[in-house]
Amino acid sequence: MLELRGVAGGYGGPQVLRGVTLRVAAGEFVALIGPNGAGKSTVLKAVAGVLPRVEGEIALEGRPVQGLSPRALLALGVVYLPQGRNVFPSLTVLEHLELMRDLAPHALSPEAVLERFPALRPLLGRRAGLLSGGQQQLLCLARAALASPRLLLVDEPSLGLAPRVVEDVFAALADLRGRGVSILLVEQNARRALAAADRAYVLELGRTRLEGRGRELLEDPRVAQLYLGAPVSASAP
Amino acid sequence: MRGAKGIAASAAALGVFLAATAGAGAAAGKTPYVVGFINHLTGPAAVYGQSMMKGTELAVAQINARGGIDGHPLKVIYKDDQLNPSLAVSAFNTLVGVDHVPVVMGSGSSTVTLALVPLATRTHTVLISSISTSPLLAGSSPWFFGVMADDNAQGAEWVKVAKALHVTRAAVMYINNDYGVGVMKVFDKDFAAAGGKVLVNQSFPQGGTDFRTDILKVEASGAKTVFIVGHVQEAGTLLAQAGQMGFHPQWVGDTALNAPQFVQLAGAEANGMILLSAGNHFTAAYRRFSAAFTARFHEAPTIWSDFAYDTTNLVARAIARGGYDAAGIRAALAATRGYVGASGVKTFQRDGFTAGNFDWYRVRNGQIVFWHAG
């Protein structure tokens, strides 16, 4: 589905990405973890077409896509959820869904999506700025689902949410994956991400360092020590 | 009225044209005498500045056609102030500091000219205005000269009009700048002294476009006669709006409104209006000027063109008599007595203004026609 080979790039200053190589197979759920400032968000931006400078190869189903605008990528079925509060405060919940319906070529109807996100139904007329953080994140996922994407790029969806809401978010991601959507997830909450993902990559200083099945990496002492808060073991390099 | 009159005018125009062509070479020999000109060439008051520039251009062409001033061609540097005093000040500084002119002709609006007076005093430069008439200018500087009589004369002239109309109660509408306030104050005092009563003095803004509430207030005062002082644009719009509102008093205007553009703007409401005109326009000198102007510009002169024409000729005459330096020009201007210009006979008083006299006009069927010698 998605393949990055030797991707470098940044914001105009020093290079932030210096060699990112990763692959997301069709229908696969891949997590990208790593320390703060490693460049995880920057990788998603490079794929989503919002990073000012990108070198290397980014291919979607074998077609090079670097340089394409978010709008062109949306037409190819790529939906990007940036880090942070991804709603338009003055638009209502329904208007968010209508906004996406007007943009995505294979959009579902708002009604079809509301059946999958029943919690949003009573909030349809409310301005998104007045929703709780969890409701806003659900709205983002509903909006993404409405586009019926083939690839979802999602950046820190659990950030700042209560544990119960984090579970709702991961349930929604699992549901999307169940419908054949490929997912590339960036998460600080590495433990939760690795538990949910089929495969994962570890990013350090702008380079993909480790790769493995989600559960393998959970048990990898290097990962455990660096990102999962495990006690430092003598076998660490 | 002011247009070219048939064959005689065309012949005169042709004569001037030939003279201008022939003389161009004659005046080219010696170094030019350069003088400055500052006026509203663009912006809301460009109507005035453009017509003054044309009067000046005509005078310069004729002077140079006659061989210039003792063989020196007269050259004018034109500067635009857009009715903005600070632009006028910087234009003046350039003319005096860079071009070293001994005399500046300008500006039109009293407000702008007043801003130049201190500079003229400080730099010992002659400042001669064609049509600035604010009483604040009178005696403001030994270097200031005004070719049109000041507003004191105009306000007093309105009182004469009121007497001729047997009017004892009237309203005044004045534009809120030095010019309008000057005329309003003089009329207010002189009319009361003559036993009249001003029902309301209503100001309206320079650059304004909507005067309906002002008109409403004047109408509510019960005035049947309204004296109005302003610029063409505002006053013309104001009369048109009064007409739309069904308010039809006897209007009496100031000299600044004696212009076809005003009547065109005011529309039917201008009919019957009485307008002043500074100077005398039924003279041989005016007819010669008018014919030459029309021949050169293919349009009739406005009532400001002739004053600018006279201003330029007075300056040239003063250079010829006093020499090409500011002190000499100033002395020669101050000594001017009984100069017969296109706009009337000019004698400078001690306060720098010429002694004035007025003609009264009336608007009939959209035309401004001579009515009465005031």
């Binding site: 940036p82 209508e98 | 309206f204 002002d214 644009q233």
Partner: protein
């Protein structure tokens, strides 16, 4: 009824300001800067109508069409040529560009039409006057009220109820997110300039029928409309309309009690008072930004 008459005049003045003010507020909402060329776009609208009626001999409705379409195109051209290249250049740069474009428009129009003051008369079917509760209202004034009401209603529908309107509001709310989501933000911004400029063109025609037309008329029109925007709450469309009507009435009440020469001063006073007492304006929010409807 003099009070009612003053109210009518105030509302007519205000309706014209409203049409111009809406354009300021829309552009501010989406780009966070004051488009100071806007008053001059209205001026161009007046001259387009003048040309349509005078030189081309068209009727008023066709002249309105020419002015509205012409100004919409002009507004889009200004955005495309003067502002878009500077979109990431901070706030001062577009302001300086705006001054340049304003001077260019004023001088171009003066070059083509001359400095003379012009008027265009209303068509015969608007020349009449009706008396409402003792106040005189002319046909032109009724047309101004009606045209303003229709234009503002159409705008409210466009912004509040259509796909384009959602995209405009999304772009105004969060530009970066809108880009990331694939919202055609350039088109939304162009649309805002087109809509605002079209209304300014309409204002230019209506204002021209009520008053006079000069190449510099856009300056004071722009200042008044800007004061109305600040009064109503910058970024808020209903705020711009309410602010304009309040300012129009205040100017005319002031003209009655203090003299017409005070009306500009009242605009400045209202501006200063608003900034001191309630900087977010009558209908604005503390955190300006979004286009609100």
């Amino acid at each position: 009824m003099i009070a009612l008459q003053i109210l009518v005049y105030g509302l007519v003045t205000g309706a014209n300001y409203a049409l111009v003010a809406v354009g300021y507020t829309l552009v501010y909402g989406i780009l966070k800067f004051i488009n100071f060329t806007h008053g001059d776009v209205a001026m161009v609208g007046s001259f387009l109508a003048l040309t349509a009626i005078g030189a081309m001999g068209l009727g008023l409705p066709a002249a309105v069409g020419v002015a509205v379409v012409g100004c919409a195109i002009l507004g889009m051209a200004i955005e495309r040529v003067a502002y878009r290249p500077l979109r990431r250049a901070g706030r001062l740069t577009p302001l300086l560009t705006a001054i340049g474009v304003s001077l260019l428009l004023e001088n171009l129009v003066q070059l083509v039409f001359g400095a003379a003051i012009r008027t265009f008369s209303p068509p015969p079917y608007l020349a009449g006057t009706v008396v409402v509760a003792g106040a005189y209202v002319t046909g032109v004034q009724i047309a101004i009220f009606a045209a303003t009401a229709v234009a503002v209603a159409v705008l409210a529908w466009l912004i509040g109820r259509t796909a384009l309107g959602r995209q405009i509001r999304a772009t105004a709310d969060n530009f970066d997110l809108a880009v990331a989501m694939g919202v055609p933000t350039d088109r939304a911004i162009l649309a805002v300039f087109a809509l605002g400029s079209a209304l300014a063109g309409l204002a230019g025609v209506l204002f021209g029928m009520e008053t006079t037309v000069t190449p510099t008329m856009g300056i004071s029109l722009g200042i008044s409309a800007f004061a109305a925007v600040v009064l109503g709450g910058i970024g808020s469309v209903p705020g711009a309309v309410v602010g304009a009507l309040v300012l129009g009435v205040a100017e005319n009440v002031g003209a009655w009690f203090l003299g017409g020469s005070w009306s500009d001063g009242i605009g400045v006073l209202v501006l200063a008072l608003t900034l001191l007492v309630r900087p977010e304006g009558l209908l604005g929010r503390r955190d300006p930004g979004a286009v609100k409807l």
